[in-house]
Symmetry: C2
Subunit: 224 residues, 2 copies
């Protein structure tokens, strides 16, 4: 079952009520970001449903056309966390890609105003860590105004007491995060990493080339 | 800031590094499911962007047309967790609705093969509880085969060691959950509650009238 790098889950043929406590105490993840090479592995196909040309990558791809593909229309993440982009050069909409199968665009595209039916570039998210993730969000640009620390997933910032639909700036102390435009992890995605921009995201225009507003209503750690 | 029912977050004008541990120890939620009436409150509009006719609800709506609306095209969840449906009578695609603003269909609709541009019915999710949620998933129908307990959010079941893209059956011991077709909380949604069907979901055809396959690749607790 799965790779030896993933945390194995308890299995049983009986209802494993007694396991719950054990699992509960082991929700923290092993740090997979160091010590294994190549840990990151993704398979991409030129057609939907894992059809057509296929290539395996263990590191970033700046432009899939330089590898003889017209685009990527389905993929499978074997290990590690990745981010896929609408355009080559890591531009345009961002889509977090965690382990699993993505048979077509609607499996990676959030509920956006327009659909991205193919990916053109992608790269590993080296700093993703469920065990140790820490971000501070600020009301205004340049780390000013009211601020709140997060170390967990929040499908609704408003439910947690953040009375605004917007975030002015962010500082990632550790790990990698994905912030979403709407509650419940929907809408435009912004990938925030401690090892890019020194973890400093001073204003919404730094969040990505697709950012059109400071609206953020949910936030979660990226799964390695 | 927000209502008195929500857990207030620490605020500071300095970077609140010292708060992190405090917040960390308080990630469990107060149990909001009892003791306040009406706790659940949703505002719905007939047009996108909070335009046109508006009504407030504190309990379920079986058919918005019986309230003089043609449909719901935007909404704001003031308190509690809700689920919206594609059709009246709580049929069709399900969309979890947590606190926040939903200006148009793409803010609640996941990345589905077809879009649901309006909601026709909705109801509170009474059992949602971040503090105490517990589900067991099974490899086969009728609670047979390999099984795993969850009490936390998992954006990728595969990353957690579940080597299958499918789930045969589920038993909700406590709380309410949303299961997703694809990794990263995308695709078709299935709302699973401890107080409906006695928490027993014996086969994928019980998951909802929109269920077309047993495919599930991510799962999370619903935020109250």
């Amino acid at each position: 079952m799965s790779t030896s790098l993933s945390r194995p889950l308890k299995r049983s043929r009986a209802t494993p009520l007694r396991q719950s406590k054990m699992l509960r105490t082991r929700t923290s993840q092993p740090d997979l970001s160091v010590g294994f090479a190549p840990f990151w592995k993704i398979l991409v196909w030129e057609q939907e449903d894992f059809q057509g040309n296929c290539q395996e990558f263990t590191s970033e791809c700046h432009n899939i056309q330089e590898r003889g593909f017209t685009n990527v229309r389905s993929l499978r993440v074997e290990s590690g966390a990745w981010v896929g982009y609408e355009h080559h050069g890591f531009e345009g909409q961002q889509f977090v890609l965690e382990r699993g199968r993505y048979p077509r665009w609607d499996s990676w595209s959030g509920s956006n105003a327009y659909h991205v039916e193919r990916l053109m570039s992608f790269r590993p998210v080296f700093s993703a860590s469920h065990r140790s993730s820490h971000i501070t969000i600020y009301e205004h640009e340049n780390f000013l105004g009211r601020c709140v620390d997060f170390q967990d997933d929040y499908p609704s910032l408003r439910a947690m007491g953040w009375c605004n639909n917007e975030v002015g700036s962010m500082r990632v102390q550790s790990g990698a995060w994905v912030c979403y435009q709407f509650p419940g992890y929907r809408g435009y995605q912004y990938i925030m990493e401690c090892d890019r921009h020194s973890g400093q995201y001073q204003r919404w225009k730094n969040w990505g080339s697709h950012a059109q507003s400071p609206q953020i209503q949910s936030i979660r750690r990226i799964q390695q």
